[in-house]
Amino acid sequence: MFEFFTQALWSPYVAGAGIGVLSCLAFLLSDRPIGCSTAFVKARGLIGKAMNPVSFKNKEYYWEIIPQVDWAFMIIPGIVIGAFISAFISGQFHVFWVPSLWSATFGYNPLLRIVVAIAGGILLGFGARWAGGCTSGHGINGSIQLSLASIITACCFFAGGIATALVLFRVIGV
């Protein structure tokens, strides 16, 4: 039984079905979808509040998404811990700066990788809040509820992502 948990990988169908069950449990026990991007707004708001309380008070967005350590915030430390447990018990944990697919195309340059990752992260956070959710909030949990907006958003995530990845790896990085 324990061997099942120490396997390096499960079939994506098994892990996916597990996430489907987990999503239903979150609706049942916590009356909310599992979303990840809200946590970054709350964390950013808490940082802003600590650094400049006066200008923080005037930011309308934080009136709607209140920066506090709550359910939506704790999901992110939870994911870090859960993924660490999974990787550690299966011997997959290792520290690295540049993923292999990136270095195979753009070379082993940690600075370049971090700069592009920060740029990507900015657009990701900005876009997620613009669209009102991310791959888990819209892509999985919105689709589960048959939300029209979520299904359209998920298609746009992949349309934008596929187009950009193809330009990055097939045009720029040849």
Binding site: P12, G16, F27, G82, A117, A119, G120, I151, C156
Partner: protein, 172 residues
């Protein structure tokens, strides 16, 4: 602290499913590795039936909200560009940090916090001008199609399972 517990289980499943790996996510966007879609569709196939059965018996309520072109399409496309540049999404970037990815920690997490901050800055400007532009005519897919809920669920399940069977058939 139920959120932390759900996060731990979610992160565990994301890592076991292989989607906390930059190479797997980028492979999906390059259409060479379909692990991400297999995982997401499996989650939706199971979750859609589970959620609507629970809802039918009154145990859960819908959180589906109204959407618009200005919010969902524009935001979704901006997200997509960031998705490809970073190679992680807001959930899997946290999972990648747990597996030891420093580009996810010092690149992705830092960028996401900055992006959320920039959005908070421009929110009052775009709120009424762009985010509400081009409202979708319905909240849910059955309302949009004017079809019975369970017929739409049946069609979606057949469509998603059929897509996965075709992927395997063609060797992806």
């Amino acid at each position: 602290m139920l959120g932390l517990l759900f996060g731990i289980m979610f992160g565990f499943l994301l890592q076991k499913g292989g989607v906390t790996d930059y190479n797997v996510i980028t492979g999906q966007l390059l259409l060479t590795d379909f692990t991400v879609l297999k995982l997401m569709l499996s989650a939706v196939i199971v979750g859609m039936i589970g959620f609507h059965l629970l809802k039918h018996f009154g145990h859960v309520q819908s959180h589906a909200a109204e959407g618009s072109i200005g919010s969902n399409v524009i935001g979704g496309l901006i997200f997509g560009v960031g998705f490809a540049l970073l190679g992680y999404c807001p959930g899997t970037v946290a999972g990648a940090v747990g597996t030891g990815a420093l580009d996810a920690l010092f690149g992705g997490m830092v960028g996401l916090l900055m992006g959320a901050g920039f959005f908070a800055e421009i929110y009052p400007v775009i709120k009424s001008r762009i985010l509400t532009w081009g409202k979708f005519p319905a909240v849910t897919l059955p309302e949009f199609l004017h079809l019975n809920l369970w017929i739409v669920i049946g069609l979606m399940e057949v469509f998603m399972i059929g897509f996965l069977v075709l992927l395997e058939y063609f060797g992806f």
